[in-house]
Symmetry: C2
């Protein structure tokens, strides 16, 4: 009986050790900052499954009837990083026309994420711009009021992850241009861009508009 | 005499320790990777002193008669990082019109730095483009041959330092737009962009052109 008790204790210790190891690995994975570069053009892909999962986590997947593959692409990775937002999404985008990215941002807004968007006054009115749709959905948008371009193209997720590069959020850029987006989870770089965002957000406050 | 010898030895040891410390600090400073974000618009500034120092290191500074200040600005920092190139400068630029940056690149080429430049076919012919000047100076330039834009805006110095962001190399962008350039000395990010550069450089090899 003593030997059996000892064997049981050993087995319990082993199970505990395995569990602890698994937890440690999971924690390390979570803690390891994302460091990634996305290059475009992206292969065409269907992101319906990503949007559906984000809208109703755990709901049974409905297959999308479209003929596009739903594999791992630069676009799907960009969408996945954006959809990881839980509290805030700060966007500074020269041009925002891509309907798929527009849907992702609206979904986050509906889920209670605080979305703020800064854009360029000359480009927000272009045919196909998402800005009107986003404003009608209740998302706060601010824009410049002068002749220089607000030419940034960056997003900050939960004040934690920075996505920045050459990519304007247009279907043409995503599907046909050579572009890059750095994904950086680094406190210093994120803070520099968050500070720039707050500066612009205040500068473009409509209360400061001047009418000549 | 023994005491004097001991005092001399102590003084020599102290001097040695101070020198070692100074060398260690200098090495640490050199080894510490550059991590910086430049935001634009940049205050106007004169970069003549920077160019002169790079052309003839150690030569007596001749004051520039222009009225611009020569302080520390986003543009002067960008130029300084570029001029730190000793062996190679790989450029992937959608639009390159800024004469000041053109002069910096030509200076590096004359100094024996291997400069390679990839640009966009539709934008290289615009009025004010530097591409013709650079080609006439003997710098290798390649461009795309299709409809999508080569929209990257990055530079890699000595396969060591990456400068990338939203900034096209035009005076208008530098002086009037809201723009960003990340400066990153990180082997993983640099490698991702260097690989992209080599891919594009091969793809745009004129030997691969097709004429329909």
């Amino acid at each position: 009986r003593a030997m059996r008790a000892a064997a049981t204790a050993r087995a319990a210790m082993a199970a505990l050790a395995v569990t602890a190891l698994a937890l440690a690995v999971a924690a390390w994975r979570r803690a390891r900052p994302v460091r990634e570069v996305l290059f475009f053009p992206s292969r065409p892909c269907c992101i319906e499954a990503l949007l559906a999962e984000a809208a109703e986590p755990g709901a049974p997947a409905r297959p999308c009837p479209c003929p596009l593959p739903s594999g791992d692409t630069a676009l799907s990775r960009l969408v996945r990083h954006l959809l990881s937002a839980r509290r805030s999404l700060d966007l500074c985008l020269f041009s925002f026309c891509c309907p798929q990215l527009g849907r992702a941002v609206q979904l986050l807004h509906r889920r209670g994420v605080r979305v703020r968007l800064v854009t360029d006054a000359q480009y927000m009115g272009l045919h196909g711009s998402q800005i009107g749709h986003l404003r009608r959905a209740g998302i706060q948008v601010r824009h410049d009021q002068h002749s220089g371009y607000m030419h940034h193209k960056f997003a900050i997720v939960d004040r934690r992850m920075l996505l920045t590069g050459s990519l304007n959020w247009t279907t043409q850029a995503i599907q046909t241009n050579r572009e890059n987006v750095l994904v950086v989870e680094d406190a210093d770089y994120v803070k520099a861009f968050q500070d720039e965002f707050e500066r612009i957000w205040e500068e473009y406050n409509p209360a400061n508009y001047r009418f000549f």
